[in-house]
């Protein structure tokens, strides 16, 4: 058996010089310190993305992206297609866990200041992928065309419509008209399965190439240590195998969730019905949705909700551009302000999400 693998390896190596790649990976080292655990969340996010692509393709075999057939096609997947229920449940659960692990990965990179020079581009591509994750969540949520997803999309696009100047055209662009209709479903379906995956794959490629090229970032306190005191582990095979181990554990959790708490389908959307009481967006938008509720209807001469959206927009831009304004960290100095800001963001998101969930 071993010989067969060896033969196959040699066959590929003769053609694409696999040995060079193995040597390159063998030279790569991952810093070992008390915060090393956070390094694994990038890999976990990647694993969830792979699951999403795989299950997404399987669902595409049966899903029909029109308002007349979407709900029925998902119902068919759930009841008639062999293991369709499992594929859909895993897709739904992995989507949520993907966003959760992306959140964790983003904050771990933030607190470790891994965005500092020369990894600005890695941070930017990562952040863009994070925004795309939210876009995946938003566009995918409508696809089953059930009552909850229909009205949540209505509320979500209404909020987008409040963005000054571009809000109106943006809302019409997302909805494919003035209201949430079958045109919105077709549009979001297109975004979800073609446009977003295409852009995401390019960003992911750049992100991974940059990581391979620049290596794993060392935290400030670690990089200050003399070389003899720096503890590391080879990326290949040690770190990769540990990554694989975590992936297996995550797969187990995912399987348990998919079987014990399968994704439900709800009731088919009826555009003429009134919205159910207490309609809420998905948990990852909840903190923003809840925050907007606390804004007064008017702040000076501006609409309160518009001010809220602008503030979130400004916060997002500041967050995205942190490698460029956090000069202290780039110089290897401690920046307490950035730490407190991150801590505030984490507490804010947790509390507001909790309040939104309670309301």
């Amino acid at each position: 058996m071993k010989n067969y693998f060896k033969c196959l390896y040699n066959w590929i190596d003769e053609r694409v010089q696999l040995e060079d790649l193995v040597k390159f990976m063998g030279k790569k080292y991952v810093p070992v310190h008390r915060h090393s655990i956070w390094y694994y969340f990038g890999g976990v996010s990647l694993f969830f993305f792979i699951i999403q692509v795989t299950t997404g393709i399987l669902l595409l075999f049966y899903y029909k992206g029109s308002s007349d057939l979407a709900f029925e096609s998902v119902q068919f997947i759930m009841s008639k297609v062999q293991f369709g229920w499992l594929v859909r449940s895993i897709h739904a659960w992995a989507a949520n866990l993907f966003i959760l692990s992306a959140f964790v990965h983003m904050f771990s990179v933030y607190f470790e200041k891994a965005y500092r020079k020369p990894r600005e581009m890695t941070w930017i591509t990562g952040m863009l992928m994070f925004f795309m994750c939210l876009g995946f969540g938003f566009s995918g949520y409508l696809l089953p065309w059930n009552t909850l997803s229909f009205f949540a999309t209505k509320v979500g696009t209404d909020i987008a419509g409040n963005v000054p100047i571009i809000g109106g055209p943006l809302k019409v662009f997302i909805r494919g008209g003035d209201d949430v209709t079958g045109a919105t479903l077709s549009r979001l379906f297109g975004f979800h399965v073609a446009l977003f995956p295409g852009i995401f794959t390019i960003l992911l490629g750049i992100h991974l190439i940059l990581i391979q090229r620049q290596g794993i970032s060392e935290p400030v306190h670690f990089s200050e240590k003399p070389a003899s005191e720096k503890k590391t582990m080879p990326f290949f095979p040690n770190f990769l195998l540990r990554d694989l181990l975590l992936w297996l554990i995550v797969l187990n959790v995912l399987a348990i969730l998919a079987v014990f708490l399968p994704a439900d389908l709800g009731i088919k959307a009826n555009p003429f019905a009134s919205a159910p009481a207490g309609i809420k967006p998905e948990w990852y938008f909840l903190f923003m949705f809840q925050s907007l509720k606390y804004f007064p209807s008017h702040i000076l001469f501006a609409d309160g909700e518009t001010v809220g959206i602008l503030l979130f927009g400004a916060a997002g831009v500041l967050w995205l551009l942190i490698p460029f304004w956090d000069r202290k960290s780039s110089r290897g100095e401690q920046n307490r302000f950035v730490n407190y800001l991150g801590l505030f963001a984490v507490i804010f998101i947790i509390i507001l999400t909790f309040l939104g969930w309670l309301s």
């Binding site: 181990l245 297996l248 348990i256 389908l265």
Partner: protein
């Protein structure tokens, strides 16, 4: 001596009181003059209740009734208004009739809210000329010969009301201007009703227009506040029909409302506010209200239960019922106290209505057919119940059973159809319908059981997968440890 003084004093004040009244009327120069020239109005006014209360012509027409100088009496300076027109008529009336203090002064106990009610009523709307209410007080009460409501001469005395209302409501030309869709044959129908026949004979007790529609406060039948709005009809009818004392002389039961309230129709209308459910008038008629005859019962019920009536009419029971003069639907289902039809009605048990006529020694095959039909419908019933439990169990386990749930509705529909088909009293037709339902229930059962089986299969599958993945993870963990020990 003391007694004499008291009697004399009383006599003196009585003379003063009655003498004053006489003086008031006799000193009304308008009346004196108009009577002397033979005016019809003055002649009528002599019989008017207002005349007896000392109300002068000037109280409605303005002017000075104390002078015999016509120019002075009918001068604008004296406030002479002439013949009031449009809403001014009602305004003249309500100066007193909407004023409790004024009415008390004349010793009247009649309510003072008539105008408020009239204004909010369907008659208080603007007339087609756009300047006045459709109805003024004098439209129903007349102008100069107004007498008390309980006076048989009054146009609003119970026996006169149909004619009074009919003045407008039986006039197609007049009614077309306001509501072209409203029939104008109400009085005509009313005269054929039990109420109308008695009313025409001079009995003031049976219901006439105002008994059901109200008098000053008449609202459109579409208005939920109206006494004749579907949900209010039973209580409107029961106002008289549940009053044992009032109905005593007519010798008819007074438990109809109590029974109806407990019936499937009453619960639908009164508790669920389903206005498509029948009220009293749906079976008895409204203006032509009369109990339906034995022959017409199935026709009356058939207006809603069309299929049941049709099946019954072509069934062998039709002839049998007609021969025995049995009322068709009500023999089995009762009349006012119609309860939800269950399978219990069918069969040969003591509660079953079939057993009232069909006995075990029945020479016809009715007894056996009833018994078999009951067994069949019970079998469909229990299959549907079992299927429902199975489907819900699968649903609670988180399984997708949309198809089975949909088919379950088909089974339910088949059961309802079977119940309808009972009215054909044809075993073959009935069995065909029940078998259709049983076929659906078999399919539902198969699907529900498969879903439950799938549920357990998933858990076993998960258990095996988790074991395999955990085993792989364990192997990987051991391999990593061995690798890192080197």
């Amino acid at each position: 001596m003391k007694k004499k003084i008291i009697i004399l004093t009383l006599f003196f004040f009585s003379a003063l009181l009655f003498g004053q009244k006489k003086n008031e009327a006799s000193s009304d120069q308008c009346f004196i003059c108009h009577e002397s020239v033979g005016s019809t109005e003055a002649d009528l006014y002599k019989k008017d209740i207002h005349f007896s209360k000392g109300i002068s012509c000037a109280d409605c027409h303005g002017g000075n009734s104390q002078t015999d100088d016509m120019d002075k009496a009918m001068s604008k300076a004296a406030g002479y208004k002439g013949v009031p027109k449009g809403n001014a008529i009602t305004q003249s009336c309500i100066r007193c009739h909407a004023n409790p203090a004024m009415m008390k002064k004349y010793g009247s106990k009649i309510p003072t809210n008539q105008y408020a009610n009239l204004k909010n009523s369907v008659h208080g709307r603007l007339a087609i000329n756009g300047s006045e209410m459709i109805v003024q007080c004098i439209t129903c009460h007349n102008a100069h010969g107004i007498v008390a409501v309980d006076n048989p001469a009054s146009p609003v005395y119970p026996t006169n009301i149909p004619a009074t209302c009919g003045k407008c409501h039986s006039d197609p030309v007049f009614m077309r201007a306001y509501n072209p869709a409203l029939p104008v044959d109400q009085v005509q129908k009313y005269r054929t009703s039990v109420h109308g026949i008695r009313n025409a004979k001079g009995d003031p007790k049976p219901a006439q227009c105002v008994s059901c529609h109200g008098s000053h406060d008449i609202l459109s039948v579409k208005d939920p506040r109206a006494r004749v709005y579907p949900t209010n009809i039973p209580s409107t009818c029961s106002h008289c029909h549940s009053n044992a004392e009032y109905m005593k002389q007519y010798k008819i039961p007074t438990d109809q409302f109590a029974n109806y309230s407990k019936s499937v129709h009453g619960i639908a209308l009164l508790q669920k506010h389903d206005i498509s459910a029948p009220a009293c008038n749906s079976c008895h008629g409204n203006h032509g209200a009369t109990p339906p005859g034995i022959e017409s019962i199935s026709e009356v019920c058939g207006t809603c239960h069309a299929l049941n009536a049709e099946l019954f009419s072509s069934s062998p029971h039709k002839k049998a019922f007609d021969e025995r003069k049995l009322p068709e639907c009500t023999t089995c289902h009762s009349n006012h106290l119609i309860i939800t039809a269950t399978n219990k009605l069918l069969g040969v048990s003591q509660d079953a209505v079939c057993s009232k006529c069909h006995k075990p020694n029945d020479p016809s095959k009715g007894y056996m057919v009833a018994k078999e039909m009951k067994q069949m419908i019970d079998s469909l019933d229990s299959s549907e119940k079992n299927d429902s439990a199975l489907v819900h169990e699968a649903e609670q386990k988180g399984m997708e059973v949309g198809d089975a749930l949909f088919k379950l509705r088909d089974a339910h529909q088949a059961r309802l159809e079977s119940r309808t088909m009972v009215h054909s009293f044809n075993e073959a037709k009935f069995n065909e319908t029940v078998n259709k339902g049983l076929k659906v229930t078999t399919e539902v059962k198969t699907e529900a059981e498969a879903a439950i089986h799938e549920y357990y299969f998933r858990r076993i599958g998960l258990g095996i997968s988790v074991l395999i993945i955990s085993f792989l993870a364990l192997l990987l963990y051991l391999y990593i440890r061995r690798l890192e020990r080197k």
